[in-house]
Amino acid sequence: MGAFKETKLPANAPAAEKALAWVDDRFPASKLWNDQWGQYRAPKNFNVWYLFGSLAALVLVLQIVTGIFLTMHYKPDAALAFGSVEYIMREVPWGWLVRYMHSTGASAFFIVVYLHMARGLMYGSYRKPRELVWLFGFGIFLCLMAEAFFGYLLPWGQMSYWGAQVIVNLFGAIPVIGADLSLWIRGDYVVSDATLNRFFAFHVIALPLVIIGLVVAHLTALHEVGSNNPDGIEVNDHIGPDGYPLDAIPSHPYYTFKDLFGVSVFLLLFSAVVFFAPEMGGYFLEYNNFLPADSMKTPSHIAPTWYFTPFYSVLRATTADFMYVLMAAVAAYVVFIWFKSRLAFVTKAIIAAIGLVLIIGMLPQVLDAKFWGVVLFGSSVMIIAGLPWLDHSPARSLRYRPDWHKWVYAVFALVFVTLGYLGTQLPTAAFTLISQVCTLAYFGFFLLMPWWSTMGAFKPVPTRVTFTPH
């Protein structure tokens, strides 16, 4: 830390330049801008999949701004909440627009985040040295799910109420402390005014604060290690005479304006929903949620909002009969690790012991299927965090992996969408069977990745990025 030095500019320099110099002497404004965006070098071969990061940031801002205006008129009170939402829709000038932007924004957030994560999966964006970028991003995803869950209670409709009741009751499946834990979360014996007030606090301040912090960490980590690209190669390996990577360009103006174009197309689609189909056929705003919450009337069909349904399907697939299949799967996985992995004997022994404990725990006399359903539900989300350590493929990008890997990813995407669809439907025997097959496929994709990701004939990876000038 040197002595303070005032930047000397000629007397006739523009006022804005002088003002910026004054600020820069006291705060690293220009430095932050240049490090994080202006002079941040990004690979020049980004494709359309690389728009979803900036779109997620845009939706976050939209949600915060519309959320602030909604908070000015919304009443977090079990007796007033439902009416206050209708008050916003009718009496508050432009209230209907703000509310529809917020409700559509919630679904839009998950759409762009799922696509953003799919991009990471396709091009191996989580691989070393970007593990922390992935983990911070995963943290954002977790907080986003919590944020959506808490926010969904606020309109205090039937689906808000019973959805919250079902999810909070999941904690009741935890042995010994479960019942007390769900009581502690609700603050009452049923979802009530106390629950509404605490969910409001989490939704409007606690989680947004954490999300913003994680977004800063996600971007800082990314700009520290540099962006991946569709070829999955490091642009930093080829530095030009100017000291910058040959295949990278400054984010500003190139990605500023490319992202602006992406934003304009996104807003076009977003506005089409907001203005012409805000309910989106009952997926973005569920019909049942136009009935005020009633603790005496349980709806015949309670389904979470669409963005939770893939994981919810895993929960519902875990029936008592399915436990025997799971026990066999655990045993098979332990045997597979024993013969196929090059882990130390002690590690293998520990894994076998864990497997044995799991199998014993899965016996109906020990812990019931409901508990394991909750465990699998949680695991289906948490396992995504493990990707940087599960993927052992020699090529980061799907482009240079064996062609059959593309089919594996396609089947995984189909399994995820199928689980999502089944989660919105009433369970039938056939649907339950399909969701069980999909559950096994879902976990198989991740747990067997250390092996299948190394198999097959890999294509030669280029040393420089693939780019066609516009």
Binding site: M89, W96, L97, L260, S264, A272, E279
Partner: protein, 254 residues
């Protein structure tokens, strides 16, 4: 006939789950499109005359009806029954406690009912249009009325004077899937006494009422769509300009 109905009622009373499952099984008629101002005004008149006696629409302000081309004076003179001022909400004079005692259930608030009743079986309008036209006389019910869409509904037929009194015919046929069992199926209505309206006029009046309830469920709907067209037009131009602007920079990248 009555014996059969009684049998059905007994079965339904014994199995509340069955009664619940029965809801939604009656096929919904498609509500005619009655979105013009005259229909909506007629619907508003029917709504305040026939629905607001028992139901409320507490999110709906009387003078929001100005959006339907009515003046404050017209609203005050023709439609203001349950409140004193045109700026008041559409509340009901009936106390919830009394309602529960008289009907066995508190009549639900109707502000957004047209949105709540949408389902894969049809729009909220289809549901209301079918529900309001399928009341029939049933002496086994406390109110003397039953309904095809919501079996054993607590609500009596509010517009029976207009539709007249009808009964429902049911037939029992052998169950093709199980020998010795019969299937109880609806076989049409029978008009017992005529109403003040022809069946045709009653259908139109109900369609107007439903159109009003759809409007009331989201009064901003027309504004939303009108504005939406301009927003999409603007964004299309903006997207085109943003694309050209982006391309003009990307030309330099070799």
């Amino acid at each position: 006939m009555t014996l059969l109905v009684k049998k059905l009622i007994a079965i339904l009373a014994l199995a509340p789950g069955l009664a619940f499952a029965a809801e939604g099984t009656f096929p919904l008629d498609r509500a005619p499109d009655r979105g013009d101002l005259a229909s909506l005004q007629n619907g508003a008149k029917l709504f305040v005359n026939h629905c607001l006696n028992c139901h409320s629409a507490t999110s709906m302000r009387y003078n929001r009806l100005r959006d339907l081309g009515l003046s404050d004076d017209q609203i005050r003179q023709n439609l203001l029954f349950s409140a004193d001022k045109v700026g008041d909400m559409m509340t009901t004079a009936m106390r919830p406690k009394d309602a529960a005692a008289w009907f066995g259930a508190v009549p639900p608030d109707l502000s957004v009912i047209a949105r709540a009743k949408a389902s894969p079986a049809g729009t909220g309008a289809d549901y209301l249009y079918t529900y309001l036209r399928t009341f029939y006389q049933d002496e086994t019910r406390p109110t003397g009325w039953n309904n095809m869409v919501v079996p054993n509904v607590a609500m009596p037929h509010a517009m029976w004077l207009q539709q007249g009194i009808r009964t429902a015919k049911f037939t029992d046929q052998p169950d093709p899937h199980e020998a010795g069992k019969t299937v109880h199926t609806f076989a049409g209505f029978e008009q017992v006494s005529p109403g003040t309206m022809s069946q045709q006029d009653f259908n139109t009046a109900t369609a107007d009422l439903v159109a009003y309830m759809v409007w009331m469920a989201e009064p901003a709907q027309a504004t939303r769509k009108r504005l939406g067209a301009f927003v999409l037009l603007f964004l299309t131009i903006f997207a085109f300009l943003a694309w050209r602007l982006s391309e003009s920079y990307w030309k330099e990248v070799k």
